[in-house]
């Protein structure tokens, strides 16, 4: 392959990946309700987004669950990574397996399993069931991120700290947290994005009184394409883009 055809191939795949998103963003500025043709620039749809109180409540729900789930998952996921790496305890292999299973399990299976759990425990579907589920499916991603950074560290560091008289608490606070900080932030951002984007699991575990953005979008989209949805999706896209760049910055910084 010569240079030009290589470049063309790369461009074609990138176009495939990005064209729909660009089209979506472009349409969110299109001054027409139904036509796919360009009718001129407008911010009308963004205005109606701002005025849509219902949608704002739903967006607030999503952000709330996202922040809480990311924080919960990051705490538990980090503890899990540290425990798995440093300690020997009862059922360690099973725990490893559970985390792996959580990662590869289809979302739909996780979703219905949790639905069955909540209905068995008579927990009503809504905020709490959603939050618990989101924390659960985010944990393995945090654990993997933190664990791989932990595995890249010199194991002697922890022995050296012990040798110098540090307790486990001190090692966690003074050695582990500072060393793992980039991975912890990255894990938080990843969890937040996953929580914000999740459709399938939320579909099963939330109730009618606690709606979140992806599900709202899903129900709106099923009815038909509306320019307002375009605007909403563009905003969300912008938000995730910012988070990805932040995440990349964290992981990039750890390398240099």
């Amino acid at each position: 392959m010569n240079r030009i055809s290589r470049l063309a191939y790369l461009m074609a795949v990138y176009l495939f990946l990005y064209a729909p998103i660009f089209v979506l963003v472009a349409y969110s500025f299109n001054d027409s309700s139904y036509s796919m043709l360009w009718q001129g620039f407008t911010l009308r749809w963004y205005h109606s987004l701002i005025e849509n109180i219902d949608l704002q409540v739903v967006a607030f729900h999503s952000l709330l669950v996202g922040v809480l789930a990311a924080t919960g998952a990051t705490s538990i996921g980090t503890l899990a990574a540290v425990s798995l790496y440093r300690y020997n305890f009862f059922g360690k292999k099973l725990l490893h397996a559970l985390i792996f299973i959580l990662i590869i399990s289809p979302d739909i299976v996780i979703g219905i399993s949790l639905l069955i759990l909540f209905s068995t425990l008579k927990i009503s579907l809504g905020f709490w069931s959603l939050l618990l589920s989101h924390i659960t499916f985010c944990i393995p991603f945090v654990t993997v991120t933190v664990y791989s950074r932990l595995a890249g560290q010199d194991k002697n560091l922890f022995e050296a700290a012990k040798d110098l008289g540090a307790t486990e608490g001190t090692i966690f606070r003074r050695i582990l947290i500072p060393l793992l900080w980039p991975a912890i932030i990255a894990g938080w951002l990843l969890s937040f994005t996953l929580s914000l984007d999740d459709v399938i699991i939320s579909f099963f575990v939330t109730g009618p009184e606690f709606d979140i953005l992806p599900l709202k979008i899903f129900s709106m989209v099923r009815v038909g394409v509306k320019p307002e949805v375009n605007a909403l999706c563009s905003v969300l896209f912008g938000l995730t883009l910012a988070l990805v760049l932040a995440y990349q910055y964290c992981t990039w910084k750890k390398r240099s």
């Binding site: 010199d154 002697n156 560091l157 022995e159 050296a160 700290a161 012990k162 040798d163 110098l164 008289g165 540090a166 307790t167 001190t170 003074r174 050695i175 500072p178 060393l179």
Partner: protein, 364 residues
Amino acid sequence: MNNIIELKGVSKYYHDHPVLQDIDLEVKNREFLTILGPSGCGKTTLLRLISGFETPSSGTILMKGKDVSELPAPLRHVNTVFQSYALFPHMNVFENVAFGLRCQHLPKDEIDHRVREALRMVKLEHLILRKPHQLSGGQQQRIAIARAVVNKPLVLLLDEPLSSLDYRLRKTMQMELKQLQSDLGITFILVTHDQEEALSTADRVVIMNHGLIEQIGTPRAVYEEPENLHVAQFVGEVNIFNAKVLAISPDTIEVEFEGKQFTLKNSKNFSEAEFLYILLRPEDLEVWGVNEVQNPENMYSANVVQVIYKGSTVDLILKLKSGTQILATQFFNEDDEKLDFRLGESVWVCWRSGWEVILANDTR
């Protein structure tokens, strides 16, 4: 009590696999003890037992006469310098060295004072604010030592501390370690697989293999009077011959090897044996050109197979009539300036009588 550490019948098993078997070792106060052995011989495990990172499967470890076998690492007055240095990458030099003192919650003034003192000792006061990745390997090494000695341990354990440094720096650091040890006046236990390092640093050397101690002695003793074949082979180069015993008396042994008979001193009081090992260090062999010798009665005839020039010495690989290859080291000296050996040249080889080492040969 002159022994700072005593190990009595210490064994360590991992999943029924013995790593250390029935180790007895006494470490004297203020000595520089070096543990030498090939990788996997159990030397690092021995160190970790002393530091408290492992507990023995059986046997006891005494420190200053007290049983510490079950005492965890932070409670023993022992500190370790790790092979990888294990400096905390997110802390600067000061914080690294101060870490142990802060764990003891000492007053700020005292910490500051002791850290500076420790850094002065390793001559790195000026780097106090650097991060570990901004230091060279040798500097990191010294910070690791400072971080350990600042806690004033009874014993400093060093786990292959010089193995990642280049040759020249390693030489310098060996001398510095020796100096530091006499300045501090504490016991050093150093683990290494490098026999040269072991011999040049140690007051006493412990030679280990397969989880057992093979020999303990001064560097000179282990080199010149190895107790068994493994020690002889591991410490320095050696030529080994299988000798058939012809006659044995309390004073002399008559042996035959490589087609010649010799009468050797029976310094180890062998009473009866059919076979013995005769060990000859390469530098104890003398090599003569065919024309230089009038009476080659007690000499072996050999051909030069390989000449390896080493600067101050020349190593020769020689092939005896029997086909056995041996190594001989010749020194340049003023009397004999031209150590000029050609490949294939015929030479005479002999050794200085009495410099041979005789070991029992149990394998036959």
